[in-house]
């Protein structure tokens, strides 16, 4: 089984409190916030590696659209165990909404398939990215490719060519089975992603990582980036969430005093 995993490097979600908007330029300032592999994409990669390791003649390819400076995050995916990787990187791709992003990714998938002379049986992605969190891209990639898609996949098994999965909905768990090609977007509880070890890092250096710019992709500029995006951004605001932060009790109070103070706030609020 040939599996492709979509991966997005994102600003570390643990550090989002450090992100702010510059009062002069009104632009986002994310200085000092490191880039990491989007957390649920690691779950998608782990799911792919587990399937590959259980099935003969299986491969895991990673594909990402990102600036070239995040190349080392793609190498990290190879160190986790992916067989090869493709990074789509061009200034023209920047500023894209999910529509224009998914278009480039879908074209990237077609080009990888053409290079390799195969069709991916399964395309896995994290259900949503930590930064934009739209959950659009996996679905939209599938729509461009005209293949099936199912999101919020919390359990996945492949037996021979039959794909069995469970999707979590608000009030029910939905079981599906079928055959690829399909894009499945996985949630964080599907597995615990493996850590990168020293051996993985050594091996990653020898694995193929191909970087394609739009000179390689040859996509029409009008379909890319901000210009190719049907949504357009307006102003950014940082909502004011600050509150008074008054001490609940005085400095020398005990935990029991704090409990009494909490009760008194509850009573005053009528709960």
């Amino acid at each position: 089984m040939n599996i492709l995993v979509l991966v997005k490097p994102v600003p570390d979600p643990e550090k989002y409190n450090e992100i702010r908007i510059d009062s002069q330029t009104k632009r986002l300032v994310r200085e000092g916030v490191p880039t990491v592999i989007n957390p649920t994409d690691r779950n998608a990669l782990e799911a792919a590696l587990q399937i590959r390791d259980a099935m003969e003649d299986s491969t895991v390819t990673v594909l990402s659209m990102a600036p070239e400076f995040s190349r080392d995050k793609i190498v990290e995916c190879l160190a986790m165990g992916a067989d090869d990787a493709y990074l789509l990187s061009d200034r023209a791709f920047g500023g894209a909404d999910t529509y224009a992003t998914s278009y480039v990714l879908a074209e990237g998938i077609k080009k990888v398939e053409a290079e390799k002379g195969l069709m991916f049986d399964l395309i896995l992605a994290g259900n949503e990215s930590a930064d934009g969190a739209t959950a659009h891209v996996p679905v939209q990639v599938a729509e461009w490719l005209k293949i099936s898609h199912i999101s919020r996949v919390c359990s996945l098994n492949v037996e021979d060519e039959l794909i069995k999965l469970v999707k979590r909905s608000e009030d029910v768990m939905l079981s599906f089975q079928g055959e690829g090609p399909a894009v499945l977007a996985v949630t964080r509880d599907i597995n615990k992603p493996r850590f990168v070890n020293a051996m993985g890092i050594v091996k990653a250096r020898k694995k193929p990582l191909t970087i394609w710019s739009n000179e390689d992709m040859k996509l029409e500029e009008s379909r890319l980036g901000l210009e190719g995006s049907p949504t357009q951004p307006g102003e950014l605001i940082a909502p004011h969430m600050g509150r008074a932060g008054e001490p609940l009790v005085s400095g020398d109070a005990t935990a029991a005093d704090a409990a009494k103070a909490i009760l008194s706030v509850m009573r005053k609020a009528g709960v």
Binding site: K146, A182, S229, A258, I262, V271
Partner: protein, 297 residues
């Protein structure tokens, strides 16, 4: 006159959205709801049919497990823009600004769909609970299709086929937090399964809900996904929220920002959560939890 279509999945979110839409356009718009009883495997086919018949200017969809798949898919098929998880919709003369959170709610951005109209309807999703419940009413297209096992019919030919084979009710957490007026929330700082159980006891004793943060959920101390509060979990609006050992990460804080009163207990006097709390208590979380369990209602 604008036509506004809302996808009704049989839960209150459709009416919350309708109430919001009517507050923007009143009698200046035609409103229509499309109902198909959570028929996950047929939603795309039915929505496409309704859109072809009605030609709406705007399509608003609850950001549920179903809505989050339908909305972006329609975006590609109709070659139009989709705004995800709006926390507000603002009418600006002839434009609509969809207010969309990013970076765990740390930043809110305006999203426009220029040229929106019957040819390229603006599509937006709204999380349940974002807008208030509404008794507003409008015309309904009821496809009268129930959820049942069967092939996914996406309304067009796709490679790869999947079949819905089973529908199991979900096991729910002991208390539903989305409507709770009082919430006890455990963060990473509670440190153990024992303390999570005590949080649940507090919720039971005082008649509230038990919630958790993502790091607490990841520790497998007992809470399930339906207890998680934050941008990727539940958004809550209780009268009183009491957080124990909560650090104050942006994606959690965004989920509690509409609480009337926020009390935070954390033994780190510099915890970020204190800056977004009405009351702070620098205490060991467990000590205060135990003391509260001793108190009478």
């Amino acid at each position: 006159m604008k036509k506004i279509m809302i996808m009704d999945q049989g839960d209150p979110v459709a009416y919350q959205i309708l109430g919001k839409a009517k507050s923007l356009y009143g009698d200046d718009a035609d409103y229509v709801m499309v109902k198909f009883h959570k028929a996950h495997n047929q939603a795309m086919r039915l929505m496409e049919k309704a859109i072809a018949d009605e030609k709406p200017d705007v399509i608003l969809i609850g950001a549920t497990a179903l809505g989050e798949e339908v909305a972006p898919a329609l975006g590609i098929r109709l070659e139009t823009g989709v705004a995800a998880h709006c926390i507000d919709i603002i009418r600006k003369e002839d434009e609509l600004a969809f207010m969309v959170p990013a970076f765990g709610g740390k930043v809110i951005g305006e999203i426009f769909v220029p040229g929106w109209g019957p040819e390229h309807p603006a599509i937006a999703t709204v999380k349940p609970g974002t807008f208030d419940d509404s008794k507003a009413d409008c015309r309904v297209i009821d496809f009268d299709v129930m959820i049942e096992a069967g092939e996914i019919d996406s309304g067009r030919k796709t490679q790869g086929t999947f079949r819905l084979t089973g529908i199991e009710p979900r096991k729910h957490a002991k208390s539903d937090i989305s409507k709770a007026q009082l919430i006890f929330c455990g963060g990473f700082g509670i440190g153990s399964t024992d303390n999570w159980q005590k949080i649940e006891k507090l919720a039971e004793k005082f008649g509230g809900g038990a919630g958790c943060t993502r790091p607490a959920l990841d520790m497998d101390w007992g809470p399930d996904e339906s207890s998680m509060i934050g941008t990727s979990g539940k958004t809550v609006k209780p009268k009183v929220y009491i957080g124990f050992g909560v650090s104050g990460a942006a994606h959690h804080v965004c989920g509690i920002k509409d609480a009337d009163v926020i009390i935070s207990i954390n033994n780190d006097k510099d915890a970020e959560v204190f800056a977004v709390s009405d009351y702070k208590g620098v205490f060991d979380a467990e000590a205060v939890i135990d003391a509260l369990l001793e108190e009478d209602r």
